[in-house]
Symmetry: C2
Subunit: 432 residues, 2 copies
């Protein structure tokens, strides 16, 4: 069977057995068979530069992580109802990466489980059910989280209120953006109180990835936390996207605002560099109110293998200086993208922090309206050129660029060159 | 530090960092450091016979599973938005283990995620929210599942109705037990309809583990499925406890009733022998109704490593004849337990199927009322003797015996001897 015929048959078999709820990337789906560092390879050994996957944060198939996984899986794989040094030590190490009083850890298998558990903890602490999220948020796949993930499906849940993400608008200053965010939150909280739901929590993706990537240093998170607490709610920072050094310098994206301490911080994707592990850290009073009435056991969450993998991932991030690299290479990438923006009016904005980067595409001939067609063209052109990215945002017009943290300047150069070619191709494609 | 002092300090550190919602087993918690087949070992290299853990279904640290995990983790660990032969082939293989028309697969990280997704699928199919479960069920840790897990916390959710598990009572025949179960379900469905929730689904643990272990061949599941469908609901078989050959002969515990085909079957714990993976299989019409309006993506669920591990687990179950062994050794264990029951009036019932066994403990001097004190005494006495089991049931008086499927008759003999000693110790402990 030719490679193309095989890919076609695999798509058919996949659709047959996994059904229509599963989607795939790209007009020509990718069929990788191996990966290393920032490169994916298909069966013909063609290399693809990975500028998209944040899960393998230390680089694909990092030998140290694979070794930790293999050794512990061969030695002992049990759960948290037995005592184990590795699990306790990992939880202690994780807690030490947070400002006080964030000190209690719960371990799960996925960011969805962590976010869902955060909602349970907030309900136990407040006795309320009302929730506030941004209006194109994504927080996970459980029934409770689907209700607060408007990017996944429209929410009709009566206990949920949506607010606008802190997106720059018009000539607004950073303070204006934060102020509008807070006003929206206060109005939502008042409405939830009036309808009898009360305010249980606000959950925010700290880089607002699904909303379109807005990790600005505008004080919006701190202002939101204060407004939420004044309304009696719990402020939950969802660091599944932004955590583990992704935004450079800091461990957690919320730390770009000095002094901010969320009530609960959830985390996931990069935590095990692909091994299914996630969790949360909470202030101790929340652990007490939750543990008083409820117990928590997660069969796989915090098992001995996950702890070993989690340790290895932290080791690599620290020893290879990946947070510092994310800051440096992220800046370098944005500089290159700004240069491209000067030449290409379709690039309406370049933003981001560390290695979480958004490039907003607009139709300059139509007053800068969103241009999802250009975004789709570029994503697929780059894929054909061997460079992998994706899109996000309500209008599907923001390129999402979020490579493994082991991404170097030389990789950034490859991306920028391919991006320049793709933009040239887009310009040549259509009459101006 | 002495081993005891170390265990004490580890308990303190664990309580400090994980908080009060995490519990552990046994008066003297176990601190295993390695494991192999059906044996756990502590730091002093003392061996403990594992008669409890169903997750490492092929035996702890099975070399074939560890090898599959290590090799795939070193080669490629990506998600379902790329194409991959291993993932599609695993889903196909899994579907082939079910009767038609159970043909569509979704892959998750945990049984909780699988059960929660099943609720979403049922809601999409029925447009209703009402749910029926047994009155001491456990189905998982998410917010939605906590509402239908009365063994975890009391449910006040207005859309949930509890029914009695199909437990033998008085002189009831098997048909009587099934009939009472159906009557309860029909009444619950009528009430849900009357209150405007309608019936979305009934979810049943097919071995009724948390309720006290009732995997009888009494037709209760088939009768329940019919009643649920007649009321417009989806019948969800939760095979997280009963699946993957646990009950002997069959792959799935529901197959003890010929001809029964659930609408959705969920699975988890043993699926990856400790690797965090789970999933569900559904009838294709449900995949269509769900996929029409919703997409599903699970970051780690169905990743390439999970697929490799899942294949290896199925290989071992098939090639080492573990289903047949579960049937044989399970019968052998129950025979031994019945012999002990003749000598010890505290054993009120011995039941189970394959290697899922319950031993109900009662106070024979008090008209056979539940005896949780005896259960706790035996569990801790066995632990001191180097044999691991636990308890279940509303009254915490049912010994839960559910070893890895690689458990042999020689291991059953060790367990039975320790059990005889523990029962003798219990008899000597208190005045008759």
């Amino acid at each position: 069977m030719s490679p193309d015929a095989y890919a076609d048959s695999l798509v058919r078999r996949r659709t047959e057995v996994l059904g229509p709820a599963y989607r795939h990337f790209y007009e020509e789906p990718l069929t990788p068979v191996r990966a290393e560092d920032v490169w994916l390879y298909d069966a013909q050994d063609r290399a693809y530069l990975d500028c998209y996957n944040n899960v393998p944060c230390v680089g694909h198939c990092h030998p140290r992580v694979v070794q930790a996984l293999s050794e512990q899986a061969g030695r002992l794989n049990t759960h948290t109802r037995y005592l184990h040094e590795g699990v306790v030590a990992y939880a202690e190490r994780l807690a030490s990466l947070f400002p006080q009083p964030l000190s209690r850890v719960a371990l799960t298998c996925s960011g969805s489980e962590a976010n869902d558990l955060a909602l349970r903890i907030a309900q136990a602490a407040t006795g309320q059910t009302g929730l506030i999220v941004t209006d194109f948020a994504y927080h996970g796949v459980t029934l409770a989280l689907a209700d607060i993930s408007p990017s996944l499906r429209q929410s009709n849940a009566p206990h949920v209120r949506l607010v606008r993400a802190p997106k720059p608008f018009g000539r607004a200053t950073a303070a204006d953006v934060a102020a509008r965010f807070v006003e929206d939150i206060q109005a939502a909280a008042r409405d939830l109180q009036a309808r009898g739901f009360g305010l249980s929590a606000m959950m925010v993706d700290t880089v607002f990835a699904s909303d379109g990537i807005f990790p600005d240093r505008n004080g919006a998170l701190s202002a939101a936390a204060q407004a939420v607490r004044e309304a009696g709610g719990v402020f939950i920072a969802d660091e599944v996207q932004g955590g583990f050094g992704r935004t450079g310098d800091f461990w957690w994206a919320f730390q770009r605002e000095a002094g901010l301490v969320p009530d609960i911080v959830t985390m996931g994707k990069p935590m095990g560099a692909g091994h299914p592990m996630a969790g949360l850290v909470m202030q101790s009073r929340l652990a007490e109110s939750f543990g008083r009435e409820q117990r928590y056991f997660n069969t796989f969450g915090g098992n001995t293998v996950s702890a070993a993998v989690g340790h290895a991932v932290l080791d690599v991030i620290e020893q290879e200086g990946l947070r510092e690299r994310a800051a440096d290479v992220g800046d370098y990438l944005r500089q290159g993208l700004h240069r491209l923006a000067h030449e290409h009016p379709g690039i309406g904005d370049v933003r981001g922090l560390g290695l979480y980067i958004g490039v907003e595409l607009v139709d300059a001939t139509r007053h800068g309206t969103p241009d999802p067609q250009l975004a789709a063209f570029l994503v697929n052109a780059l894929r054909r050129a061997g460079v992998l990215i994706s899109v996000c945002g309500r209008d599907a017009n923001v390129l999402k660029i979020r490579p493994p943290l082991s991404f170097r300047r030389e990789h950034a150069d490859i991306f920028l060159e391919a991006m320049a070619d793709a933009l040239a191709g887009a310009a040549a494609r259509a009459p101006a």
